[in-house]
């Protein structure tokens, strides 16, 4: 676990890398999340100051976007597409199976901290649904069996 000094130093690096960028807040938040797995609340004042906005504004931006997390996710993140094309191929059924197997609802993490389940709305894989993003890798034609194998690999 990083302590707050390490975090502040890393954030300083990120901010320096974005100093010439117009409207840099989203790229900064992405970099922060990439570094720590989430956006620690304590970094917002530092970012806000650099971007010349209030802390409330920085917080408002961070919470507006579904991607940014206020808490760390599990070791693995399983994102299942819930959108229409995937629904026509049984996405709801596969999602129900995932929720039951993992004992999770959307946005929850298993008690052992291993797996986070999240909804996602369209991966552009609508001609080979149901689709998923497994730790950033695309998966198509998802079935209950395929999902079980993925979950097994994560445990």
């Amino acid at each position: 676990m990083l302590d707050s000094v390490d975090i502040a130093a890393r954030v300083e690096e990120i901010l320096a890398a974005h100093s010439g960028t117009e409207g840099a807040l989203l790229p900064i938040l992405h970099s922060v999340q990439e570094s720590f797995g989430y956006v620690p609340e304590e970094v917002l004042p530092q970012i806000a100051q650099h971007q010349n906005i209030s802390k409330a504004e920085a917080y408002g931006v961070m919470t507006f976007y579904h991607d940014f997390r206020a808490k760390p996710a599990g070791t693995h993140v399983l994102k299942l597409c819930r959108a229409e094309s995937c629904q026509t191929m049984g996405a709801d059924r596969v999602a129900a199976h995932a929720k039951e197997t993992l004992g999770l609802d959307w946005h929850e993490t298993t008690p052992d901290g291993k797996i986070t389940l999240e909804p996602i709305f369209c991966l552009g894989l609508c001609a080979c649904g149901p689709s998923a993003l497994v730790d950033g890798k695309v998966v198509g034609r998802l079935t209950e069996a395929k999902l079980d194998a993925i979950v097994k690999g994560m445990r």
């Binding site: 117009e22 409207g23 989203l26 940014f68 191929m89 996602i120």
Partner: protein, 511 residues
């Protein structure tokens, strides 16, 4: 031996990486030297991963390839499909925008050039901005992002907008690559398969309006597209396509890729601009038009990926050539994205004018499940569900508007007869509630009420149906943007064409 294995996300999602590993192992076992190129997709998603092999006669296709079957690439077998160019699905298309997609190495500028790339830009560099604008105007190109606004008119507004370069003022070209609609993947496919087409289109737009800086606003749901796009931009910089001296012309065009953060509403152009500026992705009231006060309050072209990616061919072949395709006021070609429960899903580029009957039943081959088609949602989550009885409507902007529908970004979600249209209507409301930017009440609160009302109907309370209709009217008339304003399309079309799915619950409850 030269082999192509797509790096397109749909190919990867269906096992392309495993196929690459297996092909390398099989080649090594046989002592055959192979060069593997990771191309884009030819658009035939049901055949992915579609592997191609170079032969003296042309490229031969094999698919859908699996790691177990890779020996067939060397020995032939049941997955051999013959010459790729002869596949009926490809032959039936008119590929203007997607002419190179799936053929070339996406990040090779040399291959891009060898296949007709940069012809349009070269021509544009010898023209004035006003002449380029006129050419795009003459082509009849309309925005492919959904609204169908004539691209040339938008460009003319930005061209004519005054700025003071001496004060450091700039104009901008922003590509809307926030392709969030379910059933759509044309932007993704071109970014993964032929990213230079988009870059070339953006530079031409820059020349046309006098913009020197461009942004591509993509989405975090597209990790593969972002990787290819970033690589292509890097190549473009090194090879002098981008930067301070575009192809030695003295013109400036800098390009930056930005990635959104999972907010559908950021596809709306003003929300996108706010997001690009580092703000919450809330919708701005119009006027002012983004064309006059866009990114950082400066004149900005915001165009969809496909609108911009269609510009190079318009400049290369001439406006008349492009305008010779299509019907009525829908000129040129449209990359149809055939998705959902369909046998032959994928990207099919063709002149406007096809009926859904041909698209779904002939080209798509009917449903994947083999069951009857129930309806097709055209235009993503804000598009209407079209029943089979309206399958004869020609694919065009005005033609669809006349049926209380929209073509949107030309995504088609096919549903078979097991689809529950009330559940689909509920999802539309739920999606609107999740993705609402929160600026106006009819959308923010209305969508939540919509979900509750549909839950009442699901419990057999048919008295709630008129409430749903009223709510849709309120959302339609009282919303600032099309998220709240068009969510009634899928809801009302489901209710109008499939009332039994809504009253069935009441019957069941009564029994």
């Amino acid at each position: 031996m030269r082999i192509w294995i797509p790096r397109d996300a749909s190919a990867k999602a269906l096992g392309a990486e495993e196929v690459v590993t297996a092909v390398k192992a099989e080649a090594a076992r046989r002592g055959v030297e192979v060069t593997i190129t990771r191309n884009g997709s030819r658009g035939m998603v049901w055949l992915e991963p579609l592997v191609e092999v170079e032969t003296p006669e042309g490229r031969v296709a094999f698919g859908p390839m699996t790691p177990e079957d890779v020996a067939q690439i060397f020995d032939g077998g049941e997955l051999a499909l013959g010459l790729t160019e002869d596949l009926p699905w490809l032959r039936a298309q008119t590929r203007l925008t997607f002419a190179r997609c799936g053929i070339i190495d996406p990040v090779s500028l040399d291959e891009y050039r060898a296949h007709g790339g940069l012809k349009g830009l070269t021509r544009a560099l010898a023209m004035t901005g006003a002449e380029v604008v006129q050419e795009v105007l003459n082509s009849g190109l309309r925005g492919r992002g959904g609204a169908g606004f004539p691209t040339g008119i938008k460009w003319k507004t930005v061209h004519d907008a005054p700025i003071k370069p001496e004060l450091g003022e700039k104009k901008y070209i922003v590509t809307n690559a926030d392709e969030g609609d379910s059933g759509t993947f044309a932007d993704r496919m071109i970014m993964e398969g032929d990213p230079f087409t988009l870059i070339e289109g953006m530079i031409i737009a820059g020349i046309a309006v006098g913009a020197t800086k461009g942004f591509i606003y993509s989405r975090s749901e597209y990790p593969d597209a972002n990787e290819v796009m970033a690589a292509a931009i890097a190549v473009g910089r090194v090879e002098g396509l981008l930067g301070q001296n575009v192809l030695g012309s003295g013109k400036v065009f800098e390009l930056e890729l930005r990635v959104g953060a999972g907010a559908y509403v950021c596809g709306e152009e003003t929300a996108l601009l706010n997001s690009l500026e580092g703000k919450r992705g809330t919708v701005r009231a119009k006027p002012p038009l983004p064309a006059l006060q866009g990114f950082m309050g400066r004149p900005t072209v915001v165009n969809n990926v496909i609108s911009l990616a269609s510009v190079p061919v318009i400049l290369a072949e001439g406006a008349e050539h492009y305008a010779s395709f299509g019907i009525g006021r829908s000129k040129g070609t449209i990359p149809l994205q055939i998705a959902g429960n369909v046998k032959h899903g994928g990207l099919f580029e063709i002149a406007f004018g096809l009926t859904l009957d041909r698209i779904v039943n002939e080209i798509g081959g009917g449903t994947a499940s083999g069951r009857p088609v129930k309806a097709v949602q055209v235009g993503g989550p804000l598009g209407a569900w079209i029943p089979v009885s309206q399958f004869d409507t020609p694919f065009g902007y005005e033609e669809y508007a006349g049926q209380n529908a929209l073509i949107g970004h030309a995504g088609l979600t096919v549903a078979d007869d097991t689809a529950d249209m009330m559940a689909m209507a509920r999802f539309a409301m739920e999606f609107c509630a999740i993705e609402s930017c929160g600026k106006c009440t009819p959308c923010r609160i209305g969508a939540v009420r919509g979900v509750e009302t549909l839950d009442r109907i699901a419990r057999g309370d048919t008295a709630a149906i008129p409430l749903l209709t009223d709510l849709c009217e309120t959302m339609k008339s009282g919303s600032l943007c099309a998220l709240g304003g068009f969510t009634p399309y899928p809801v009302m079309s489901a209710l109008t064409h499939f009332p039994d799915d809504f009253t069935g619950a009441a019957r069941e409850a009564a029994e």
